[in-house]
């Protein structure tokens, strides 16, 4: 059963439609990545899922229950890492975590235990009593995540959680997210950084101008990425003739292109076949599968200021 199911979700602000009838399902224990350029509707969608925004139209179900009917239980079952740092600078890391934990009804020893565990995970155990205002950006990002998992949410919403973090903190955060997934937590992850989504998510949706442009498993989307082997030869159109078996080449201006999800695997076969047919290879390029290529193909290359 899907943990979360959205059907025809719409969010309008006056005449402006920020989210245009999107539908999707997020399975228990999975990580669903929501990719999109700035202003695509990612944060609005996440705002609806976190309960801070009310959808204008559409139906949502959480664990099979009607969205509105399950409001109290749903809010306690969802953790939210907003894009902005959601921490009180004047309080210590410990005080911040105590506050957010108590807000979800975690108390006493259970809270102390979870705080200790979360601080260990994000590498801040030794800085627990320091004021957050003195933390670096990376440390705050790590604490920002820790604050959202104290109540062991069944669904964790992450809205661009790694904005402005250093590579070390990013790696640590990715490790924590992998760990949470292993524990069975379901994640919804928005970002416009492909590498983060590829590292954590198994299903990905691409959203732009409020519409879901593509949604599927990571490998399915990568298959659309234009990966393959590009062989430069004197006459690509002529070289296309004949039976290439499973290779299925296409002639391009720059040469003969052999699409493949894993281009490295077909590379020897391509070279052999070209030689066997007597075509001289003047150059060869392995085009690796990339979510970025899919993303750019679907959303275009025009700059987005918002």
């Amino acid at each position: 059963m899907a943990l979360l199911a959205a059907q025809g979700l719409v969010k309008r602000y006056g005449a402006f439609e920020a989210v245009k009838s999107i539908s999707f399902e997020v399975q228990k224990g999975s990580c669903w990545g929501l990719l999109g350029p700035n202003g695509a509707g990612k944060s609005t969608t996440l705002g609806i899922l976190s309960g801070t925004l009310e959808p204008t139209a559409g139906a949502l179900r959480f664990e099979g229950e009607d969205w509105a009917a399950a409001e109290g239980a749903r809010r306690r079952a969802i953790g939210y890492v907003p894009q902005e740092l959601a921490l009180y600078d004047s309080l210590s890391a410990l005080e911040n975590l105590r506050f957010w934990g108590r807000l979800y009804g975690v108390r006493g020893r259970a809270l102390d235990g979870r705080i200790k565990e979360a601080l260990d995970w994000v590498g801040l155990a030794s800085r627990a009593r320091e004021k957050v205002g003195a933390f670096s950006g990376g440390m705050k990002r790590r604490l920002n995540l820790a604050a959202a998992i104290l109540h062991r949410p069944r669904l964790l919403l992450l809205d661009e959680p790694m904005v402005g973090v250093d590579p070390q903190s990013r790696n640590l955060l990715l490790e924590v997210l992998q760990h949470l997934r292993q524990e069975g937590m379901t994640l919804i992850y928005t970002s416009h950084y492909m590498a983060e989504v590829e590292a954590v998510c198994d299903r990905v949706a691409i959203i732009d101008h409020g519409k879901l442009l593509a949604e599927g498993g990571l490998s399915e989307l990568l298959a659309q990425s234009g990966a393959g082997v590009l062989v430069q030869t004197s006459d690509a159109q002529a070289a296309l003739a004949g039976d290439w078996g499973s290779l299925l080449p296409v002639a391009r201006e720059e040469g003969l292109f052999f699409p493949a999800e894993q281009p490295g695997e077909i590379l020897p076969q391509v070279v052999l076949q070209m030689n066997a047919r007597g075509w001289q290879i003047s150059g060869i390029e392995v085009v690796q599968p990339s979510l970025e290529a899919v993303f750019l193909a679907l959303t275009g290359t025009a700059l987005r200021d918002e």
Binding site: Y80, S90, L91, L103
Partner: protein
Amino acid sequence: MFGAILRKELLSYFQDRGMLLQLLLSPLITISLFSFLLANPGLDGLRVAVVAPEGSERSAVVAERLTAANLAPEVMTEAAFDWAITRGELLAGVVLPEGDEAARLYLSPAQSGVAKALGRQVEAALAEAGASPGQVSAGSSESTGQISATPPGAGLPAAVVVSHPVELNWGTPAQAAEPANTGAAGYIILTLFFIVVNVGQVLVKEQTAGVFRRLQGTPLTGWALFLGKWLPAWLISLLQAVLFIGWGALILDLDLGPLTRLGPVILIVTACATALGLWVGSFAKTEAQVPAIGVSLSLALAALGGCFAPLYLLPKWLQYASWAIPQHWALVAVQQGIAATGTDIAVVLPYIGILTVFTLIFALLGSRRFGLVLRRR
């Protein structure tokens, strides 16, 4: 949840030393700077102009009588008096026209409270000097409750003849408050309601940070958020009041009435001020808006409530409007608490009741507003 907010708010207040210092010390600094306004100076040695043509015999007699009444008369010309009273250097002047015309007493409108008491003394002095006391309105006329701006003599500024406290004021103390203590009441209320600004700043700071976004996703309700923020703000406001009033009573020797009467009044006034602050503060969108909204609102409501000047100086429709302003009832409650004799709390109970209604209304509006802000649509 409510407990979590409560603890966090208290921690935030007490760990942000800058804000705490500002909250607790600013009233003390201000009261220390302006204590002369609040302390009861008495009338002894007060400068009173005796305005008369040079060489006037009557002026010498009047000055002598005023000196006997422990005032400090200064004989001066109309032009000198005009200059002095316009600049606020003098409170009052006895104008002795030539011939047998009646003497007139001009009082500074800004100081009408003190002037009323002064008027009694001057009137007595003039009567002894045979200067037509019947013509002296100040303090003696049981008139109309009206304020009349008596046209001054040539070159004299407009003067107010103070007669009687405003007729529609439900809260007119049964026993007239000492003028200096009335001023203290106004200042106390003005200061206590200024917490609107601080409360608003704390709110906006939170709303513009990511924490509010996360708060919106929690199971928190508008009521829990409101109460969690209100009670700590109330506590801070009470601390302000204790420091402020304690300082006034112990250091400046202000007579603010018995604690059994002042205590409950201050308790409800601070509750009302902080509830109002939270409700109003929730409308500000940026930190810059808070002082703009908070200060103007505090000053406007304090003025309309009678904290700066007696209500009878206001147009009648504004006097009626003051009934809808909590500062007015807070002022009356404190004045009553100061003025009444004994330790009976009954005299302030009606005002505590009215302020409780205001407080509940603000709390209801505030919690609804917080609920809306938490669950944006």
